[in-house]
Amino acid sequence: MAEPPAHADLADGTETPLLRVRGLARYFDASPPLLNRLLAGGGRRTLKAVDGVSFDIPRGRTLGLVGESGSGKSTVARLVVGLYPPTAGTIAFAGRDLASVRSAAEIAALRRRLQIIFQDPYASLNPRWRVRDIIAEPLRVHALLSGRAAIRARVAELLLQVGLAAADGDKFPHEFSGGQRQRISIARALASAPDFLVCDEPTSALDVSVQAQILNLMKALQRRLGLTYLFISHNLAVIRHMADSVGVMYLGRLAEFAEARVLFERPCHPYTRMLLATIPDLTLSGRPRAPVTGEVPSPIDPPAGCSFHPRCPHADSRCRRERPEPLAVAGGGLVACHAVAEGRLSP
């Protein structure tokens, strides 16, 4: 996997990016059970959820990862926070390669700085725990504060920071609405004063007006606390609002990577163009929508060569054979497309 050129940083380039991912891959074994394989004669099957993804996130910025189901974006989120070990590739946080971290103390220190917010507000809080215990858990696990009074004070501070009341700590999760639960999740993630938050579709399960509240809150927190976000969503408009740079994923690979403004104004990759064309036009300008073809294939059996070629109006024989590597384009982005590389595609 070739190292992408330096200007994929999309930052000043002087400081080491807070998160650097190279050639990240995660394969799952999706084979039928041993007995079935023996009887039916099928072979082993591998689900390549993430298949070679590289990007950098500078401190204080937001990278948006966008894609449909099967794109692998949620798997990337879980790989970055260490819920799965990668099958291949490296993840470097603040310059330190995560795979080489061995000591328990160092792992704990990393866990303090790297936290995650999940999509489902109903499953991400333990229904049997009170809110104050949920938020205080990182404080207790990492022994960041001692004494009930100190912990209570910090929990109250966090609750206020996310727009809830200090008294809400005594309640149980089921007493809150979806948006309020996400606020509690955010408070829990912030308890250990992390640098980096992975946000896995944090607003996808919320109503649109609640989503606005949560997105505003997240932006305000980023400014105030100097947070860096890896923000994952299938909603392009949300990504446009939140992200500084955007990665478009398709079947485990990065199709395109560019600064947000550039990506939305001048998308290069055919898949990006197709995605942008599916966004409904709320200005009702009568813009004709380009026809969208085909469906996302199953990640267990992706097409050979460029995984997008069955749906691509510009596919040729090279696309069916050879997998495109991400290449730099004018404007500072990366695109993995033969048509773009060969200049067949008009910008």
Binding site: L83, R112, F118, H142
Partner: protein, 317 residues
């Protein structure tokens, strides 16, 4: 912090908690179900009878000195030949049936309850580990469980009982009989808990709050006990209530078969066996009254278990 101030505050919180419990959906469902209330009342009566047996029973049937063969096989009080000294009659050794029922219920309830607790601890523990850790551990535990399931529980209990009798020295066998029983019955019932808990654990393990705990850096054991366990206990309580009845019957069966408690300290099952011999010679009370007591106990426990299962159901998922 002010200790004096803390006490009334604690009492206030307790009162508030009790008030919440009374007002809760579960309590409301209980108050609405006549069957549940009746069953609870019967069960409470039997348990009270057992607990307060030394004060309620007119005689102490375990005190061999006070038992007199001259009073053997008296009919119940309302039949000619009986007396209110032995309200429900006396058995072949002269023990008062009523007193023996009260004392015998103690054994039945204690053995039933303790064996269920043992089964629960064992089953929930293994189920948690099996469901959370998965892999080979899960496979091994589940195969053991499946093998055990292919035998009837009674057989397992008999097997364990037999093995223990071989191990325990003769002199201690009587005094340890109850404990051996508890062990046997407990070991024969753990599988159901394990399988249920395993399934629920596998569901909870995939939920984001467990993943969040992992990202925070909690030890897997802490996650199992503090996060997963409270969320999988619901069905366990229902199974335990229903199994309580089964455990009591199993103890009675084992005692009936002669491999349970020693005949000097009869449980309900022993009484039924003893009385069985006299059933057709006309002294029906020796077996019928203990039998009725057993039926009432088991029935009320079963009905309570049914009610609990239905009351908890909409909230389970």
């Amino acid at each position: 912090m002010a200790e004096a101030g803390a006490r009334p505050r604690e009492a206030g919180r307790l009162a508030a908690a009790l008030a919440r419990l009374w007002d809760s959906d579960l309590a409301w469902s209980f108050r609405r179900s006549r069957v549940a209330m009746a069953a609870a009342a019967v069960m409470l009566a039997i348990v009270a009878g057992a607990v307060f047996a030394p004060w309620l029973a007119p005689h102490d049937p375990f005190d061999l000195a006070s038992v007199s063969l001259l009073d053997a096989r008296n009919p119940p009080a309302w039949i000619v030949g009986g007396s209110w000294d032995y309200p429900l009659g006396s058995d072949n050794l002269g023990r008062d049936v009523f007193s023996t029922i009260l004392y015998g219920s103690r054994i039945s309830l204690w053995v039933g309850f303790a064996s269920i607790v043992l089964a629960m601890v064992l089953g929930v523990g293994l189920g948690l580990v099996s469901g959370y850790v998965g892999g080979a551990t899960d496979a091994v535990i589940m195969r053991i469980a499946e093998i055990q399931l292919s035998f009837p529980a009674i057989l397992i209990a008999l097997l364990v009982d037999g093995v223990m009798r071989g191990i325990v020295p003769r002199g201690l066998q009587d005094s340890l009989a109850e404990d051996v029983l508890i062990l046997s019955i407990g070991l024969s019932f753990w599988v159901q808990y394990a399988r249920t808990v395993r399934g629920s654990t596998m569901v909870e393990r995939g939920k984001e709050y467990v993943q969040a705990a992992r990202v925070i850096g909690r030890h897997p054991l802490a996650i199992m006990l503090r996060h997963v366990l409270p969320n999988v206990m619901g069905p366990v309580l229902v199974i335990a209530t229903i199994n309580l009845a089964l455990a009591i019957i199993t103890e009675a069966t084992l005692s009936f078969l002669g491999v349970g408690v020693p005949p000097t300290q009869p449980s309900l099952g022993t009484l039924i066996r003893i009385g069985n011999d006299f059933l057709f010679s006309g002294e029906w009370w020796i077996t019928i009254f203990p039998g009725l007591a057993l039926v009432l106990l088991v029935l009320s426990v079963n009905l309570l278990g049914d009610w609990l299962r239905d009351a908890l159901n909409p909230r389970l998922r």
